[in-house]
């Protein structure tokens, strides 16, 4: 007997379906719920139109300090009693901030979700926000950011963002602020942010076995005592590219790797090219067999991994390649990376590569959306970007039907190798000289 020599064919595929979605409007807000029969855990996610983009210039990080202050006690109980009450349900609060939203999430076994949601809302709607506590949380956040910024990556990210979005106010600064801007946040900033944005109803997303969940009770917990109309949305920031490429060095003495962040601006999430752009980026740097990972990792051995992707929010977008490469091969790794970006922009993709990208992106919609948390996140995407309930079925079909011509056209239009900003965080003494081969070299002031 020997191994089976021929690759097996594909079995019969079951049709794809996103979980059934139910909507309930009650107590002044909307609940959007996805039914996951048999799931023991359930997730609730309160989505508020209070993202980092609503922060004041120079006080970037206000929303993050607020998020971290919510569990410092509520009008009903102090922080120790709050932690015990919530964690005794097996739940933990996960408040978070992104560019578009402020999110307060909670997960628990289904029968405990309503109690957990009541506690989550108690923290989100009626936190104590004692001035001494808020000031301490702010100081702790400054320290935590300094811890984070001691790792490779955050300084390079901030440098690239400042360069790409320099004229766009809040978007030119890091999502969670930097140690200086957070240190400048006042207690009044935090109280004002809460008063202005967290007392509005928002939308509650729920994922779990709906046969065991009371959506009306969840709505009451989430929306009771809130008021305010939906807010108007500002338009996209637009895509502006610099006249020529430039390189910015972020010095990190003795670093054994160079952290690469190569990027340029791109359209926002609502772009009609979303699907072909995503597939082009998958061929270039998304899949394991992508052009970048194949050449830089699997052929050259320069890195543990390299990724290229578009990141898009309601108002902004950017293309980025990210990697950590061994210090000694910094210039060769950048040279090869630019070569693959240029080739993809110029020549587009092949059918063989696109076939992998199509099937992977489509398959991931079922493979990576198994948990209540993942499904609640998928519902949030629908709300933030105004997409219909059957969006994921449509998205899957569009992935599978995308042609080489469409994807190659998107690569040509939305990649700009000559307009890249090359941020390199590494040992300046070792790499400064060789970086000049890529054009103007400046030092980061971050």
């Amino acid at each position: 007997m020997t191994l089976v020599t021929t690759r097996p064919g594909t079995g019969a595929a079951r049709p794809y379906a996103f979980p059934a979605v139910r909507r309930v409007t009650a107590h002044g807000g909307t609940v959007i719920a996805a039914h996951l029969p048999g799931q023991i855990l359930a997730s609730a996610l309160l989505l508020l139109d209070a993202g980092a983009a609503r922060e004041t210039d120079g006080r970037e990080g206000t929303a993050t300090v607020l998020a971290k202050s919510l569990e410092e006690g509520t009008r009903k109980r102090d922080s120790a009693a709050y932690a015990l009450a919530l964690e005794s349900l097996g739940a933990e609060l996960s408040p978070g901030v992104d560019w578009d939203t402020f999110r307060v999430g909670v997960s628990a076994p289904g029968p405990l979700l309503a109690d957990a949601m009541r506690l989550a809302a108690e923290a989100a709607r009626t936190p104590k926000l004692d001035p001494a506590d808020v000031a301490r949380v702010r100081d702790d956040e400054v320290t935590a950011l300094r811890m984070d910024w001691a790792q490779p990556g955050p300084r390079a990210d901030a440098t690239l963002r400042a360069d790409l979005f320099g004229d766009d106010g809040r978007y030119s600064r890091p999502l969670h602020g930097d140690p200086t801007s957070v240190a400048a946040v006042t207690v009044d900033d935090v109280l004002a942010f809460h008063e202005a944005w967290l007392r509005r109803p928002g939308v509650l997303l729920v994922a779990g076995d709906l046969d065991a969940l009371d959506l009306a009770a969840l709505a009451e917990a989430a929306f009771d005592g809130t008021s305010g109309d939906p807010l108007e949305q500002a338009g996209p920031l637009g895509v502006r590219l610099p006249p020529r490429r430039r390189t910015i060095l972020v010095d990190r003495p003795d670093s054994v790797q160079s952290t690469l962040r190569l990027g340029h601006r791109a359209p926002e999430r609502a772009t009609p090219d979303y699907v072909p752009m995503t597939l082009a980026a998958t061929v270039l740097g998304g899949a394991f067999t992508s052009r970048l990972n194949h050449l830089i990792r699997e052929v050259k051995g320069y890195t543990y991994g390299i990724r290229g992707s578009y990141a898009m929010t309601r108002r902004s977008g950017r293309f980025e390649v990210a990697a950590g490469v061994q210090t000694a091969v910094t210039a060769p790794a950048i040279r090869d990376t630019l070569g693959e970006i240029a080739r993809t922009q110029r020549e587009g993709v092949t059918e063989a590569e696109l076939e992998v990208a199509r099937s992977w992106r489509a398959g991931q919609l079922s493979v990576e959306m198994q948990t209540p948390g993942a499904i609640a996140g998928a519902l949030a995407t629908l709300v933030v970007h105004g997409l219909p309930d059957d969006y994921y079925e449509t998205l899957r079909r569009e992935y599978l039907e995308a042609t080489v011509e469409q994807v190659s056209k998107a690569a040509a239009e939305h990649l700009a190798v000559d307009g890249l900003t090359l941020v390199v965080e590494g040992d300046g003494a070792a790499i400064r000289e060789e970086l000049t081969e890529f054009g103007d070299l400046i030092d980061s002031d971050i």
């Binding site: 109690d115 790797q257 051995g301 950590g324």
Partner: protein, 441 residues
């Protein structure tokens, strides 16, 4: 059987695995575990090989993990780069990990590609050696060296785990060295060693194949026979060195590191009990009482109470290793203006409190509720379930015993926690690793 949960007190589970499990064994020794779940059109294929860094002889540290990389580089009927292309190109997610105990490989696929996944796994179990080349080894050696730089060398405190292991386990113990290995040993790795490694350990009788999701046991058993049935048994696979140790250690050790770190930090560690024992269940609850969540003793007393520790960097956790007493790691990082000595005094006082101050019903209830949610989160995907069953089949001989873990956690009493604390947390058995900011000496 269905898990029963009552509200609003802590959930009571009668089983941690309310799905069916069926098992079979091929003539060549391969054990096959199937757990059917038709909820979503996805299926996970998972292989546990009972080989990890504990099997590595001196001079070959890091070889089990480097070998794991080679398993993605082609086999007898799968060309180089084809493995990843076929899995991702059919919608799947895949990965593999190596730890001191074992090596696991897994892919979650849309279920119509189950047979493809089994064929790929069989080909690299039975036919890796003919495809293994010097070029592939040289390339993946560089990739792994970059993994070491990225995860351990280039980040503050990144080498803590590498430093703790030799302090916790004596020279010659299978857990003495870290899985990532040393740069010297990786540089010296020869192709013949890896060919021999595969022939020795990647045998059907040294593996468990687990399939969870949208399929049936009958289908999986038939496909397992079709694709894996021809692979020959390897007789006489050598066991790893014995990990038995007198528990706990009898002499405290410490290491003080000055490095480019942003703040003073301490790791306290103790050897406890092997994963899977009643003692380790008590340690799991103990670690949650001590260091998991804002209601934990560490958070309440050091981040919230005396405010000497940074709230984002405080915690306690066990590392679930099964072949020797597993480590418990307790860590805290100083707030601005707090010195390493004050932090250590505060930290050791809270650790000592687990021996001196009984765990209250509220503390115990909180810990069990958090462990319950964590358990259900772990089994909420077909991938999480497949890995769990593979673990219990490999380490305890029966995948069905996975269902007992959660009920056993929930049966731990306050007295059990105190008893475990008194046994494992003694100062004279402690490993203390400190970091302070400064130029490395």
């Amino acid at each position: 059987m269905i898990a029963r949960v009552t509200s609003p007190s802590a959930p009571v589970a009668t089983t941690g695995y309310p799905w069916p499990i069926e098992t079979a064994q091929l003539a060549n020794g391969l054990r096959v575990v199937v757990s059917e779940d038709r909820t979503a059109p996805v299926v996970c294929v998972n292989l546990w090989y009972d080989v990890g860094s504990r099997h590595e002889p001196p001079g070959q540290t890091g070889f089990a993990h480097l070998f794991e990389h080679l398993m993605f580089e082609g086999s007898q009927h799968v060309k180089k780069t084809e493995h990843m292309k076929l899995v991702q190109g059919n919608g799947g997610s895949l990965n593999a990990t190596t730890n001191p105990d074992r090596t696991n490989y897994f892919e979650t696929m849309p279920s119509e590609h189950l047979e493809l996944a089994l064929w790929l796994e069989a080909d690299r179990m039975g036919g890796l050696v003919p495809a293994l080349t010097q070029e592939t080894l040289d390339n993946q050696r560089e990739v792994v060296k970059n993994e070491r730089r990225q995860r351990y060398e280039n980040v503050p405190y990144g080498d803590a785990w590498l430093r703790l292991l030799p302090l916790l386990y004596p020279q010659g113990h299978p857990y003495h060295h870290a899985t990532i290995g040393s740069m010297e040993d990786l540089n010296a790795a020869a192709l013949e060693t890896f060919q021999a490694f595969h022939q020795q350990y990647y045998a059907p009788n040294n593996a468990v194949l687990t399939v969870v999701g949208d399929t049936t046991p009958a289908e999986v058993f038939a496909l397992a026979e079709k694709y894996f049935g021809a692979i020959a048994t390897v007789p006489g696979i050598p066991a790893a060195p014995d990990g038995t140790l007198p528990t706990p250690a009898t002499e405290a050790v410490r290491e003080a590191v000055t490095a480019k770190v942003p703040a003073p930090r301490i790791y306290l560690s103790h050897r406890t009990y092997p994963f899977g024992t009643a003692g380790y269940d008590a340690v799991t609850v103990l670690a949650t009482v001590l260091g998991n969540g804002r209601g934990s003793r560490l958070y309440q007393r050091l981040a919230d109470g005396s405010r000497i520790a940074q709230p984002d960097y405080i915690g306690a956790y066990g590392v679930d290793l099964a072949h020797a007493p597993a480590p418990l790691i307790i860590t805290a990082t100083a707030k601005d203006g707090v010195g390493i000595d004050a932090l250590e005094a505060g930290l050791t006082e809270v650790v000592q409190s687990l021996i001196d101050e009984p765990v209250t019903p509220d503390e115990l209830n909180r810990a069990k509720a958090l462990l319950t949610t964590a358990w259900w989160r772990g089994v909420s995907t077909v991938g999480g379930r497949a890995d769990l069953l593979g673990r219990y089949a490999t380490q305890f001989g029966d995948p069905a015993t996975a269902a007992d873990r959660l009920p056993k956690w929930l049966a731990v009493t306050a007295d059990d926690v105190t008893e475990a604390a008194a046994h494992v947390l003694r100062p004279e058995s402690r490993v203390t690793l400190t970091y302070v900011p400064g130029e490395p000496s």
